[in-house]
Symmetry: C2
Subunit: 320 residues, 2 copies
C-alpha cells in the first residue's frame, strides 16, 4: 500500500460510535471527504526516515488529520463558507450548533489518538501537539484581525501563515521523528524543514488563486480577490503601490456591485503592473530552497532522505 | 489556604500570553468569573485522601476547570444564552466567532494542563480525561435531541445527565486518586461515588429551579419552565399525567403569549398536583445515600474520608 492508501484504510476503519448520530455522523462526513492527507503523510515520511514499522506512528498521523479537519470545520463555520471539497460544509448540511459540537468532539478525538499511540517520545509529542494547536488558534485570530486592516506588513503576514499553516506541518515532521526515537537535532531539523515548506506551500496557494490553472488548482480562480482576503499578493501590491494605486485597489476590492470576472481581471491587471507574480514566485522558490537546504543537516544517508525531498517537490509541483 | 483559595490563586497566576488579545482576553474573562470550582475541589479532595502534597495535582485540577469553562462557553453559544454568572456571555460581549475560537483554545489549554502535570498514573489520567470529554459531547447532543421530544423517559434523562454532568465529577474524583497512586479499586470507588453525586446534584438543580429559594439559588426561579427544558420534574410530570393533563402541560409550555409568572405558577400547580416535588426529593436523597454508601468500600480510615463526605453533603445543602 502507498502511504495515502494506508492512511485512508486506517481512517475508514476507526470504530467510531454511531450514537448519538447528530454528533458522530458529521465527523464521519468530514473525515471521509478526502483531501491530500498532507499532514499524516509528512508524519509517516518523517518517521520512516528512521524506522520502517510505520504502523506504530499511524495513531499520531490520524490524530493530526483529525485535528486538521477540526480546524477546517470550525474555520468554515467562522467564515460562513458554504462548500468544502465540492460538498456542503457541516453548518450548511446540518446547522451551526452541530458544527460547534462535532468540531469540539474532533479536537478531543485528535488528542485521544495521540494519547493512545504507543511510540517513543510520547510526552514530548503530546506537548508539541498541544502547543502547536494553540499556535494555530493564534494564527486564526491574526488572520481574522487582518481582515479589518489595510496596513499588514509582509513579515506580519509571514508570521500569521507560519502560525496558521506551517507549525502543523512542522509538528507533523517533528512528531514523526520523535516517535521513531530520532535525536533532538534531527527532530529540530525536520521541524525547520517543514516550517519553511509550509510557508512556501501557503504562498503558492495564494499565487495559484490568481495565476493557477483552474483545472489543476481544483478551485475557481480569484476567490481570494472576491472576498478581499489579505494574501501575500495583495499585501505586497498594497505595499508596492503608490497612494493613487493603493486607493484604486482598495476601492476595487470594496466594490460590491462589480461583476466577479471584471473585478478579478482588474485586480490581476494591477498585480501584473506591480510585478507581483514574479515577486511571489521568487519568494516560493527561496522558501523551497531553504527548506531543502535544512535537510542537509540530517544525520542520515542522502538516499534515505530522497522520498521526503521528492514529496516536498511534488507539493510545490516540481518535477525534480 | 483553603482549597478554593489555592485554586483561585493558581488560576490567577497562570502566565497566559497576551497576544493576540482577541483570542486570550475572553479566556481570562471566563476563567476569572468565579463559580463553585466544584471539579478542581473534588479532584484535590480525592487526591488528599491518599497524599498531602496537593500542589502535584493542581495542574490536573486547573485542567478540569479550564475544560469545564470551555463547555460553558460553547454551550452558552449554542443555547444563545445572554448571561452567565451575572455577566454577559462571550458571544454577547465579543461575537460568535470569538466564542468558537477562544472556546477551542480553552479545550487545548485544558489538555495542556493535563499533559504538563508531573504525577503518577499520567497515561491513564489522560485517557480518562479524553474519554470523559467525548462523553460530555454525547451528553450535550442528547440534551439537544431531547428538546424536540415529549416522550423522553426517566432512564434516558438520567443517562443524559450522567454524560453531561456526572462523568466530569467522576473523572475529577478518579483522576485525583490515580494521581496520588491509589489502587484501581479505590479509584473506581471514587468514580462511582462522584457519578452518583453528580446525578443527585443535577436533579437537585432541576428541583431548585422550581422550588428553590431564589436568594439561596442565585438564579431566577422558573427559568427551566420558561424555556421548556426537559428536566427531571417535567419528564416525570409528563409520564405521570393522564392524556388530558399532558396536553394541558404541553400547551402551557408552548404558549408564547402567557406572562412568565403566570406560566411558572400554572406549571408548578400541575407539578404539585402530580406530587413531583416529593418524588424528586426522594430521588435526590436516594442518589446521595448511594453515593455515600459507595465510599464505604475505600481502603482508608473513616476519619481520612470525612472531609470528602462533608463536601458532598455541603453540595446538596445537608447540614450533617
Amino acid at each position: 500500500m502507498t502511504l495515502t492508501e494506508t492512511i485512508e484504510n486506517y481512517l475508514s476503519h476507526i470504530p467510531y460510535p454511531t450514537q448519538p448520530e447528530g454528533l458522530y455522523e458529521p465527523i464521519g462526513y468530514v473525515l471521509s471527504m478526502g483531501g491530500k492527507r498532507l499532514r499524516p503523510t509528512l508524519l509517516l515520511l518523517s518517521y520512516s526516515l528512521f524506522k520502517d514499522d510505520i504502523d506504530t506512528a499511524l495513531p499520531l498521523a490520524i490524530g493530526l488529520e483529525t485535528y486538521h479537519n477540526h480546524t477546517l470545520l470550525h474555520d468554515d463555520l467562522m467564515d460562513n463558507a458554504d462548500v468544502r471539497r465540492g460538498k456542503p460544509t457541516v453548518h450548511k448540511k446540518w446547522d451551526a450548533n452541530t458544527a460547534v459540537l462535532s468540531g469540539d468532539a474532533m479536537l478531543i478525538m485528535a488528542f485521544r489518538h495521540f494519547i493512545e499511540a504507543r511510540c517513543e517520545g510520547k510526552e514530548q509529542i503530546l506537548e508539541l501537539f498541544a502547543n502547536t494547536a494553540l499556535e494555530i488558534c493564534e494564527g486564526q485570530q491574526y488572520d481574522v484581525n487582518f481582515e479589518r486592516r489595510t496596513d499588514v506588513t509582509e513579515s506580519e503576514y509571514m508570521e500569521m501563515i507560519r502560525l496558521k499553516t506551517s507549525v502543523l506541518l512542522a509538528c507533523a515532521a517533528k512528531a514523526g521523528a520523535l516517535a521513531a526515537g530520532a535525536s533532538p537535532e534531527d527532530a529540530g531539523t525536520l521541524y525547520r524543514f517543514a516550517e519553511k515548506m509550509g510557508l512556501a506551500f501557503q504562498v503558492q496557494d495564494d499565487w495559484l488563486d490568481v495565476y493557477g490553472d483552474p483545472k489543476v488548482f481544483g478551485k475557481k480562480i480569484g476567490g481570494d480577490i472576491l472576498c478581499g482576503k489579505k494574501t501575500y499578493l495583495l499585501i505586497n501590491a498594497l505595499n508596492r503601490a503608490d497612494a493613487a494605486e493603493k486607493q484604486r485597489l482598495l476601492a476595487l476590492l470594496a466594490d460590491g456591485d462589480m461583476p466577479a470576472a471584471e473585478k478579478i481581471a482588474a485586480v490581476t491587471q494591477i498585480y501584473d503592473a506591480l510585478g507581483i507574480s514574479p515577486l511571489t514566485l521568487q519568494t516560493i522558490d527561496n522558501l523551497y530552497k531553504e527548506a531543502l537546504a535544512a535537510l542537509d543537516a540530517l544525520s542520515l544517508p542522502a538516499e534515505r532522505v530522497a522520498p521526503l525531498r521528492q514529496y516536498a517537490g511534488s507539493l510545490l509541483g516540481r518535477k525534480s
